[in-house]
Symmetry: C2
Subunit: 223 residues, 2 copies
Amino acid sequence: MQYIAFIRSPFLEKFGVPRQSGLAEHVVSRIVFTPAFSHPDFIRGIEQFSHLWIIWGFHRNHRDVERSQHATVRPPRLGGNQRLGVFATRSPFRPNELGLSAVRLLGVEADGSLSIGGADMADGTPVYDIKPYLPYADAVSSAQAGFAEGKPAPSLHVLWQDGLKEKLTMEQALALEEILAQDPRPAYHDTPDRIYHLCFAPYEVDFRVEDTKLHILRVKRRA
Amino acid sequence: MQYIAFIRSPFLEKFGVPRQSGLAEHVVSRIVFTPAFSHPDFIRGIEQFSHLWIIWGFHRNHRDVERSQHATVRPPRLGGNQRLGVFATRSPFRPNELGLSAVRLLGVEADGSLSIGGADMADGTPVYDIKPYLPYADAVSSAQAGFAEGKPAPSLHVLWQDGLKEKLTMEQALALEEILAQDPRPAYHDTPDRIYHLCFAPYEVDFRVEDTKLHILRVKRRA
């Protein structure tokens, strides 16, 4: 297995990465090909597809190889206290550590990279394959999915302190609200005094959560 | 990368394997776990999902490593005479030789294997990962797909010689008709005299094609 590309995304850290693709549609990332796969021939005709599949590696797990060997995991959507088989979940802690995401193709950039929307990948994520999304084979809208049936609803109201929202472009502000409204905190964190720190390039964002309100306290451009 | 399972399917040879998952819904295959992943814990809870993603390897390509290094391929749906970038197609000849299929989960068997419907994999295909299909993230029914937009329509009428259809179960006969109606012949084969031989376990099937009629000439149980 060789990397064919890497992801450039606003998530320089794991904290804040959406739990599935499509949950934060306004997040814009890029697929940057490695030198061996950067010839434009490799993507000839790709612009006729609105969506792509990315098969990628959960590289941020590498310090937790042991955890990826467990047969069961505790999905956050079940409150973190019920164990399911790893092949019955989309957990990142899994054999071969492969990720799978359907993303929107926004365009082919002048440098040959691909702009994509709605990705759930951290910056630096290695990519193993890119395939066009074929609705007739891939879109099974009648599929039943038990505990993971519906789209997780946003659970927090995002409130900005005066003057902060204007620091971002409209697209960035929308993306940040999508991410924060889904509550990026680990399960069972409910400490209203705690200030959380999210890296959303090129910004660093401080916030606090009280009941269902998320207060953005500070937005600072990274040095 | 380690194999977590292997596919058992009626396609003992590459000839006849459907070109995408879901094109031959009545084809029944099995996912048989390797000893390291055969503990039932690995699939605990999987029965609540109607569909699964399989990430697998195009192992039948191994003699054609060179062809998998090309930047472009000629998709059969474009008649085989137009080149597209490999990442704009689902061609099996691709870097890392990864396949991706959405299949129907029919059930968990007593031996711990999974019965699946509609798979497009040859017998012996190695499996790298199994994930539940999540409609809210994976089913993009509005996706546009250029040259591969619609489901390929069956192009042949399948006609059985007297007494042959009754040799198969009803399910097998339906599956075989689905496979043959989509014309498994390589592009540009149009030789009405030629007799083609399809291995559809546990049967061997001889057929001939004339215009849009496919005649099943012989159905023989494998020794």
